[in-house]
Symmetry: C2
Subunit: 348 residues, 2 copies
DNA sequence: CTGAAAGCGCTTACAG
DNA sequence: CTGAAAGCGCTTACAG
């Protein structure tokens, strides 16, 4: 299965490998190689169906035109949508994507990081777990092109692409209150993840603004690992302690999904009984809960921003959609906070 | 950002690169290298945090320990679940995964194939579009390790991992009939995709068995591209032509999703009015249509089989879960048809 | 028991 | 205008 290489072409044309390389790299005129030769090379490469060996190219360049993406779970709809958005953006700068699923296991995440480094990927994109901060710090120290997203660690100086967690939560809960809800449950995940904290803060801020009491009995915090199992008990408790609960704010769509299961199993007419709000949603939410209000993550924009920042770090010539010519150089972090789009559906 | 290489270690230890390479490759005793030296090398590599440069390794070996996966759409729940399953299986043979989303565009699919070849991936996994058969034939001619899944092209001699399309459809529709449905609509996709044909055949087979007429008015075929837009008109037509329709068989979960939207928009009490059946489902189906019967694709098993067959072609020493020692060698196609699990939910 | 050396396919200073 | 040559980091016959 002999591949066509530069050598193949060079021998065919009785010419040096170097010349072929220059021409195929598009630096023909720069090197003042005769148009005739250039033509011959281009034609030959075309007709022989030459494809450069990326491995060799990457080896000489010391870095490959592949980017690594580590996701907590590739089968989550949000993360897979992000993956798609990133891949589409990378297309434009001729980079490929290597997607890994850490399954929210720190061990796996670390393994994937070192695997990606072994492959000399040009950059790494990561929605990190908390405990892996050591490895990430390492990446930062090496000034490895890196962009973190979705999750934020205040003491980790990196490039982030985030959403306005607190603000979106605030708006969502504010809306629920304005519509008349007074006993709003907040379902969230153990806040060792900072963004979950922010979402909860947004919830509390809205309550405070309307001079409503913050009732711990209305707050349900589920475990990060195995949250699915936690939801039923948590909801049981809330319904027991505050039977008059009249609305639910879900700090994440994955929590809402589990709650819907619970509601269904318990034959609760949740679409009538409760106002609902959720950070992000699944495509099918509209069917399950037609009136749920949602702060939609701007998936496509997140993907573009991530690639934009990464490209800058990788020194890829690339005209970003936003023509703000940043003065920032490497080692100066670029973090972006994108607003969610608020979708109000209970204005019946 | 100097990486630690074999040379670094060799110089540190005043020893040859070759020796370091042998030991780190685990062939120390085979090469009869003194235990003392081995120990020193291992320790040094460990302490210097050595990670082999996969690019260099792949370049010398002529092939990388990465596998390419081309999906029609990574944000589809079925495909992202498959991706996850494949990645988990590849882990065990120390292969990495490069996931690409063709977005069901033939041009993109072809681009991804050639990109993956440029990266000298060890093998390619693909749920192909029809038109790309040329490129795939090329891969087969080069005896490039290749496994196709989900979609089947009878005249394309390749390794396939498929489900029992006809049988599962038959069982599903047979069940609907046994429960009393007589006017069963079949919603499917233009059958230039063979597996869609098979699913329709299963539907017809069940009708025939029960001596029911096959009514073309009950069959809704939507376009492959932009099927979302087609569903409403198709359902409109069916309801117009056969108002007494009493059940729906969806040849794919993505069709069911769109139908649910339609039902909702038209305020139809579909859970009461119709029996439902679908090939595969989304996690949230249970909430939207608690009584839908489903032929579940065995995602994890599909992933394992794919990797199993691919590993064989890549000559990876690997003990497959099924200890059936196949006699097959390369160029002899191994195709596997896996049964779906029938989930009956309308036995109220 | 260990090392020198060729080679994988490319890029890129350097030389002419 | 074009080529010879070094080097990227590894593997692996070959030699001793």
């Amino acid at each position: 299965m002999g591949h066509i290489t530069l050598k193949t072409i060079a021998e065919r044309l009785n010419i040096s490998i170097a010349t072929v390389s220059w021409v195929l790299a598009g630096k023909g005129k720069e090197r003042k190689i005769s148009p005739a030769t250039q033509e011959r090379i281009l034609l030959c490469a075309e007709s022989m169906n030459y494809h450069p060996n990326m491995l060799a190219r990457a080896l000489t360049r010391g870095v490959s035109n592949t980017v690594g993406l580590i996701l907590p779970s590739i089968s989550d709809s949000f993360y897979s949508a992000i993956a798609k958005a990133i891949e589409l953006s990378l297309d434009k700068i001729d980079y490929s994507l290597m997607i890994c699923s850490s399954e929210s296991e720190t061990l796996r995440e670390n393994r994937m990081i070192s695997m990606l480094k072994s492959h000399r990927v040009g950059g790494i994109i990561l929605a990190p777990m908390e405990i892996s901060k050591v490895e990430i710090r390492q990446l930062i120290n090496e000034s490895y092109p890196l962009v973190l997203f979705d999750r934020f660690f205040p003491d980790l100086p990196a490039n982030y692409v985030l959403i306005d967690n607190e603000e979106s939560s605030y708006k969502l809960v504010d809306h629920l209150i304005r519509k008349g809800s007074r006993k709003i449950a907040c379902i969230t995940i153990n806040p060792h993840l900072h963004h979950m904290n922010l979402r909860r803060k947004g919830y509390e801020k809205a309550l405070k603004k309307h001079r409503l009491e913050i009732n711990p009995e209305l707050i349900g915090e589920v475990a990060f690992h195995g949250y699915e199992k936690d939801i039923p008990a948590t909801l049981d408790r809330i319904f027991h302690q505050v039977p008059e609960v009249d609305a639910f704010f879900f700090a994440s769509h994955i929590l809402a999904i589990e709650a819907f299961q619970y509601f269904r199993v318990h034959h609760m007419d949740y679409n009538r009984k409760f106002r609902l709000g959720s950070i992000h949603e699944e495509p099918l939410f509209q069917n399950i809960a037609p009136h749920i209000n949602v702060a939609m993550m701007p998936v496509a924009k997140i993907g573009r921003q991530i690639v934009d920042i990464l490209a800058e770090q990788m020194n890829v010539k690339y005209s970003p959609p936003n023509t703000t010519t940043l003065e920032t150089k490497e080692n100066i972090n670029r973090s972006v906070v994108l607003p969610c789009k608020l979708i109000i559906r209970d204005n019946n």
